[in-house]
């Protein structure tokens, strides 16, 4: 007969580390039924434990009914009745963690407390008397360091033994005086309406007026009235509300427990090293500038043109040498062995299609790896958690919550987990707004676009690379301000309480693993999506109709009897280019299709078929924008082949765009509708087709307006664009944007009190 053990604990207490250690790869991940909360279960490692299933519950601070995670955990414990609970407690934050422990003990399920992070506890100079703690709580306590794998075996043995024995913890009285008497009375009133195992738990929940718990008991009106009378009397005598009364009682009990078992190494009020650093990093005045400088340096080192920009140096080498000389040279030799001659269709497909397309994207992997490495270091040392706190101060000025910034931080790796991270936002309106704006952040796949524009057009300027990040943040803040003024999103910003983990030296293996995971995914994707896209793009750009003749456009263009002067003029007119700039690719299938749509992007400065096609292919995968450029610019002129001098495509790209047009192109592609994967994630989280389309429409509209304003007004300012109808439209858009930003808008009232995700899902 199988054994079920539930793993419960606060967020950041080390549950995931322990769960991964206990189950290894024998895990199953899904969603809890009806809600978007992750469900993880796995079989315990070890032949002797093959029937033991570990259920990882979401990280929670209590068993109250306020968040989906709490409701899910409580429902599981009460309905599934696991054979045992492992309550993982962060030893460096015992008081806060024990709050949940007191509630779990009331469930009368065999329990073992795993006191985690004991290595940090000792390092802090604190001591925990495990025996005294165990005696005070009435249950087994095991020391653990999940990260180092210490104590896991003893923990599992105790937990499995407890499950098999079915022995519950020795009851310890958490409540006292009037409160205890009131809860005892309520337990009598509830009587047989509750499972005897959970009577105590239900009585306390009823005292707290927990709606979900009371609903589950199916009490009669008379019972409910009696319970309400008991609560009212106690509230009056203690001059406090019932929830606060119970909270106080629990913390009084916890204070007693820790007084017996915990000895702090630091004097009360003394600041830890983390606290001292936070005084500067989260300072009211310095916090934001420090963040801006840190992110600028990161992007400058990864993608700038400085001497310390190791990412750029490595990318230059990859583009110019590896994919500029070695790889084309290798394939040239290899194809020669098979008798595939240069100039043939097959040679063109491989060199100008696949190698050029994939190479253009893979070339940015070094920059990407450096950026991911630096971001992983920041995450691991604990700084990124502070960023959400710093941003909350600014967000709150505009009616937003810093909690909405956490998905944005996640989205700098990939927009998909960023979108999923919006589940932590309880307020349904804020959650929708976050879903509509999270992918404004430049994800890993967008880095090649930034790298290409910054490198090809702006000479590797670190300002351009860093500006992409701040444009993303700026778009999120401005969108939040604008959307909050509409009734659909109006509401009071949710309070933001978050735990700041202590700073610590980054774990080398952890950082390298996180960097490699992201980088390898990117490379694998290049090997699938980019290969297919490059072949399709190559085919559509290599074949076309030239003056009524269909075939390879390069070959057809060599035939003077087909390519007449009048045809050249007609093609130049159709493509809106000077006659002397017309080349074979302008007659391709892709050029015809792209040209039909490119007028849409003319006001943005890149109304040419190549960037149009690149932008559209970006819907499949954002890195495909650069892959498409790689194919289209690699073989642009039949008389000249790139790669012989190792120049790559950058000079050709730079020729086609003015700086302001290139910047406008970058802005549009960074902010417009995300890739299919992110759209799918938004669709899943919105669970509503109308809202999904609204999100896509909003992002694309925002990107278009911003790019238009930048090109038309910015171009006029720097002298690249003449005054015209575009300028007027740009000015109108800017005025409209300013109006939406500064108007009073819909004022949230009590009636708009935030629709909670728990109620929304009820």
């Amino acid at each position: 007969m199988g054994i079920k053990i539930a793993l419960a604990g606060n967020p950041n207490s080390g549950k995931t580390t322990l769960f991964n250690d206990l189950t290894g790869s024998r895990q199953y991940v899904g969603n809890w039924p009806g809600v978007t909360v992750e469900k993880k279960e796995g079989k315990l490692k070890g032949a002797e434990y093959k029937d033991v299933v570990i259920q990882d519950l979401p990280g929670i601070y209590s068993l109250s009914p306020y968040t989906l995670e709490e409701v899910v955990s409580r429902t599981y414990l009460v309905t599934e009745k696991p054979d045992a609970i492992i309550n993982i407690v962060d030893g460096t934050n015992i008081e806060r963690n024990l709050y949940l422990t007191t509630q779990l003990l009331e469930l009368n399920i065999p329990m073992v407390v795993a006191l985690n992070m004991m290595d940090l506890v000792r390092k802090n100079g604190d001591t925990v008397n495990v025996k005294a703690l165990s005696e005070a709580l009435g249950c087994e306590v095991v020391e653990l360091s999940a990260l180092k794998g210490e104590g896991t075996d003893a923990l599992i043995k105790r937990a499995v033994d407890a499950a098999k024995a079915g022995k519950t913890s020795q009851s310890r009285e958490v409540l006292s005086g009037n409160v205890k008497a009131a809860v005892d009375k309520i337990a009598e009133i509830i009587g047989s309406a509750s499972d005897s195992k959970f009577l105590r738990f239900n009585a306390i929940k009823a005292f707290e007026r927990d709606e979900k718990a009371i609903e589950g008991l199916n009490l009669s009106s008379s019972q409910k009235d009696q319970i309400e009378k008991v609560i009212a009397e106690t509230e009056k005598s203690m001059d406090d509300d019932s929830e606060s009364i119970i909270t106080n009682e629990r913390y009084n009990y916890i204070t007693g427990v820790t007084a017996k078992a915990v000895k702090k190494g630091r004097a009360k009020g003394e600041l830890s090293v983390s606290d001292k650093i936070d005084r500067i990093v989260t300072n009211r005045v310095l916090g934001l500038p420090i963040f801006a400088v840190v992110m600028f340096l990161i992007y400058a080192i990864a993608m700038g043109g400085w001497s310390v920009s190791i990412g750029t140096a490595a990318t230059d080498f990859t583009n110019d040498v590896i994919f500029g000389e070695w790889v084309p040279g290798f394939f040239d030799a290899l194809l020669g062995v098979f008798g595939v001659v240069e100039g043939s269709v097959l040679y063109g497909l491989i060199q100008d299609g696949i190698v050029a397309g994939v190479g253009a994207v893979i070339g940015f992997v070094p920059q990407m790896l450096v950026l991911f490495l630096l971001l992983a270091i920041l995450e691991d040392i604990g700084y990124m958690a502070r960023v959400a706190f710093v941003m909350d101060r600014i967000f709150r000025q505009f009616g937003l919550s810093g909690k909405a910034f956490i998905p944005c931080l996640v989205a700098t790796g990939c927009g998909v987990p960023g979108v999923m991270a919006s589940r932590t936002i309880e307020n349904e309106r804020d959650r929708k707004m976050t879903l509509m704006t999270t992918t404004f952040m430049p994800c890993g796949a967008k880095l090649p676009i930034i790298g290409l524009i910054a490198g090809a057009v702006f000479g590797g300027s670190p300002w351009i690379a860093a500006s992409a990040y701040f444009i993303g943040i700026g778009s999120i803040v401005l969108s939040g301000i604008i959307l909050k003024k509409f009734k659909a999103f109006a509401g009071i910003p949710a309070p933001f309480v978050m735990e700041l983990p202590a700073y610590h030296i980054p774990s080398v293996s952890g950082v390298l693993r996180a960097t490699w995971e992201r980088g390898w995914s990117f490379i694998k994707r290049a090997g699938s999506v980019i290969v297919i896209s490059s072949v399709i793009i190559w085919f559509l750009s290599a074949f076309g109709t030239v003056n009524g003749h269909f075939g390879l456009v390069d070959n057809l263009f060599e035939d003077e009897s087909i390519v007449t002067e009048s045809y050249i003029n007609e093609l130049a007119d159709r493509m809106d280019v000077p006659a002397e700039d017309v080349n074979a690719m302008d007659a391709s299938l892709l050029a015809s299709v792209g040209n039909g749509v490119s007028f849409v992007f003319k006001p943005l400065g890149f109304g040419n078929w190549k960037p149009t096609v690149a932008t559209v292919t970006g819907l499949v995968a954002k890195e495909e924008v650069v892959g498409t450029f790689g194919v289209l610019y690699n073989y642009d002129d039949s008389e000249e082949e790139l790669g012989e001098e190792g120049e790559g495509i950058w000079p050709r790209v730079a020729e086609d765009y003015t700086p302001i047009a290139a910047f406008s192109f970058m802005i549009f592609n960074l902010l417009c509708a995300p890739c299919f994967a992110a759209i799918g994630a938004i669709k899943r989280e919105m669970n509503n087709a109308k809202w999904t389309w609204a999100a896509i429409g909003y992002m694309t509209g925002w990107a278009y307006v911003l790019a238009l304003i930048v090109y038309q007004l910015g171009g006029l300012f720097v002298g690249e664009v003449a005054f015209g109808i575009g300028t007027v439209v740009g000015a109108i858009f800017l005025a409209a944007l300013l109006y939406l930003l500064f108007r009073k808008g819909y004022q949230a009232t009590e009636a708009d009190k935030n629709l909670n995700a728990v109620k929304a899902n009820a």
Binding site: T16, N20, T23, G24, S25, Q27, Y28, V29, G30, N31, P33, G34, E38, K39, K40, G42, L335, V337, F338, G339, V340, V341, S344, L346, L349, I350, G413, C414, G415, V416, P417, M420, G444, A445, R513, E517, R518, W520, S521, F522, K524, R525, G527, S528, V529, V531, I532, V535, V620, A621, E623, C675, F676, A677, A678, I679, G680, A681, K683, R684
Partner: protein
């Protein structure tokens, strides 16, 4: 090697690569647009089996 044989071999290799890649891409796009994937992410560009779902991405059974 006679050029015609060499060309056939290269074409066969390219076709095989394209078929394998193509199938992967079609499945991936279908899955992405349906919003499937593990709960850690929906199999997006960062999903090579990240730590949030263990060593490989799994297909969740959402019982709604």
């Amino acid at each position: 090697m006679p050029p015609i044989l060499g060309n056939i071999i290269v074409i066969a290799i390219i076709v095989a690569i394209l078929v394998v890649c193509g199938k992967n891409v079609v499945e991936m796009i279908r899955g992405e647009l349906k919003g499937s994937g593990c709960a850690g992410c929906s199999g997006g560009c960062s999903c090579s089996g990240c730590s949030s779902c263990g060593s490989k991405p799994s297909d969740p059974k959402q019982t709604r």
